[in-house]
């Protein structure tokens, strides 16, 4: 095993371990912070796969914006620094089983689809901003547009929700 492979495996372990902590820790804010560790480890994996652009965008969007907003909402609604009771529900085994099933489905489809794909990290152009952009706006343009419509719908939904409560208050 080369140094890159060892590092990749370690980062993967960190990602999976902290992801488990996200769903098991008793403090909600700590859960959000473990999520940061997971996403950061994933960004590290992208870096090792020479996908520099994706790695920094991952840090910028997920670590820097999404989880901060999550924390923001958590702090506005549940601020105590002490551990909370009632974060564990009776649905826990069901949720765990479902999570394992989803993970199995995803892993098997990934393995089936990309088993024979090899990336030559020494002289490839897989991860630069240019190749990422080209791939995104040529072969993946339909999923990209569909996702943007989905995000737009979420945006409109958020606006509608916040406006209707305001109108009701008056």
């Amino acid at each position: 095993m080369s140094a890159v492979e060892v590092l990749f495996a370690l980062l993967g372990l960190v990602a999976v371990g902290s992801a488990l902590l996200v769903v098991t820790t008793a403090r909600l804010v700590h859960a959000a912070l473990w999520l940061v560790v997971t996403l950061g480890a994933l960004a590290g994996c992208y870096l090792l796969l020479a996908a520099e652009f994706v790695a920094w965008v991952q840090v910028l969007i997920y670590v820097g914006a999404v989880v901060v907003l999550l924390l923001f909402a958590l702090m506005l609604t549940r601020a105590p620094t002490a551990a909370e009771a009632g974060t564990v529900t009776a649905n826990r085994p069901l949720a765990a089983g479902l999570a394992v099933l989803v993970a199995a489905a995803l892993v098997s489809s990934l393995v089936a689809g990309f088993r024979d794909v090899r990336i030559d990290l020494d002289d490839s152009v897989v991860g630069s901003a240019e190749t990422t952009g080209e791939a995104l706006f040529t072969s993946w343009v339909l999923p990209f547009e569909v996702l943007s419509v989905l995000l737009l719908a979420a945006l409109v939904g958020a606006i509608v929700l916040s406006r209707s409560t305001r109108g009701g208050g008056r």
């Binding site: 652009f53 670590v63 914006a65 923001f72 630069s128």
Partner: protein
């Protein structure tokens, strides 16, 4: 960083081959030098801020310790280090200690990709190296990403203190930094389009003929507003509004932990100033009359231009603080989301269109500039028409009684009068204080008579 950098050199279309060839000791020297420069600059900037603001307010400022009071910051630093380190009982201990560290480290490591100067020869050797720790094809994205990690320091400091003031301060600053980061990122897009690269050294090289700050004025202005918002400085220093929030997110911090937050704030000021210099003011390139002399951009001299331009931004920060009063929070958010971001989006689309047309077809620029002028005029005319309509609206709203509850409070836009309950009345004597038929008052008078 080493690994990422190694991959970057291969992937880049940009020519970054000058980077990554240094021997290990040179890496170390560069890293330590950057650290030392930033810490010394912080000490100097704190002194400079106090002296300049004092001069603006017809005071003297610190002038006792050392020549011109230059050692004042050092004395303050030693004093801070000797203070008792208090950890509140309600605090989340681990996060409380980690938070200042998370806030400080990103401020420093963002400087890894800032170019201080051109390729130079290291003294006493014949090694040639750029005056920059490293560079990568997505260097500016890296700075943005690192800066966004720095927000965690503030959010966590606010939350882990277990104090209301700190929590509210932390929430404010995180909301502020996220909002202004969007505008900041959008301001960069036009620069990327013109430079054709996201690497800092390539962007500086692309400004050899003309600074981007001169041709991309809207981007530059948006960036300046965003950088003041991003660093939580006056007039956007709402997270530490003393009158409302005591010290904001660092209310509960003392001793060296507090010093770390202070350090992070001042290093961040230098970082955004250096980034503005790099992206908009030609980086280490000499300013115009000096640039006519060929030697101005060679050797170690550009270090001087770079630091000079960065210090100009620091002076600008201090000047703002000495001049402007603090903005109200809702006005500040309105400026960010309803003015800066839409303008930045429009400008980005306009720049992209102009770039695409000039690159593809080569239409005469005069037509494009003429069309842009007409568009701007139409936009301005429309905005004035719209403004009149909105300006007339607020007059219909009922007047807000600032002393409604006995406390002077400024109204939020569209805020209604709170329904007041009489303190002395026994039951069911609630009425709007703004109502004309004084509902609550007679009851309390009766009570007094009884």
């Amino acid at each position: 960083m080493n690994l990422a950098h190694g991959a970057g050199v291969i992937l880049a279309k940009d020519d970054l081959s000058e980077f990554g060839n240094d021997p290990w000791w040179l890496w170390l020297v560069k890293g330590v030098l950057i650290f030392v420069i930033l810490v010394v600059l912080t000490l100097f900037n704190i002194w400079a801020e106090r002296r300049v603001v004092a001069r603006m307010q017809h005071r003297v400022g610190p002038n006792v310790h050392g020549p011109f009071g230059l050692l004042q910051s050092l004395a303050d630093g030693i004093k801070l280090a000797l203070k008792e380190d208090v950890v509140p009982k309600a605090a989340d201990k681990v996060l409380f200690i980690i938070a200042p560290v998370i806030s400080t480290i990103p401020a420093f490591i963002a400087f890894a990709v800032i170019p201080f100067g051109p390729v130079v020869t290291v003294p006493f050797t014949d090694i040639e190296t750029p005056l920059q720790l490293t560079d990568m094809p997505v260097a500016v994205l890296y700075i943005l990403a690192v800066a966004s990690v720095g927000i965690y320091g503030i959010v966590l400091a606010g939350w882990s203190s277990g104090s209301t003031y700190a929590l509210l301060g932390g929430l404010r600053s995180s909301a502020q930094m996220i909002s202004y980061e969007v505008a900041m990122g959008l301001a960069f897009v036009a620069v990327f389009l013109y430079a054709g690269s996201m690497s800092t050294s390539e962007i500086v090289a692309a400004q050899e003929r003309l600074w981007f700050g001169l041709i991309l004025i809207p981007s530059f202005l948006i960036y300046i507003a965003a950088m003041v918002g991003e660093t939580n400085r006056a007039p956007f220093d709402l997270p530490e509004a003393e009158g409302e929030l005591v010290g904001g997110f660092h209310t509960e911090y003392s001793s060296l932990k507090f010093a770390l937050f202070f350090l992070a704030e001042y290093v961040n000021m230098v970082t955004v100033g250096a980034l503005a210099t790099t992206l908009f003011l030609g980086g280490w390139m000499a300013p115009w009359p000096l640039s006519l002399w060929d030697g101005a951009n060679q050797g170690y001299l550009p270090l001087l231009w770079f630091l000079g331009k960065t210090m100009l931004f620091i002076f600008f920060f201090i000047w703002l603080r000495g001049t402007l009063p603090r903005m109200r929070y809702d006005q500040f958010m309105k400026l960010g989301w309803k003015v800066l971001i839409p303008v930045a989006l429009l400008w980005t689309v306009a720049v992209a269109t102009i770039r695409a047309i000039t690159l593809d077809e080569g239409i005469d620029r005069r037509y494009i500039i003429g069309a842009a002028l007409v568009a701007v005029l139409v936009f301005l005319a429309l905005s004035f028409v719209g403004e009149k309509a909105t300006e007339e609206e607020p007059e219909e709203e009922p007047e807000f009684d600032a002393f409604a509850g006995g406390y002077p409070v400024p109204p939020m836009p569209g805020q209604q009068l709170p329904v007041l309950t009489s303190v002395t009345g026994s039951t069911g004597t609630s009425a709007g204080a703004g109502d004309t038929d004084d509902g609550g008052a007679p009851v309390s008078e009766e009570d007094r008579g009884a």
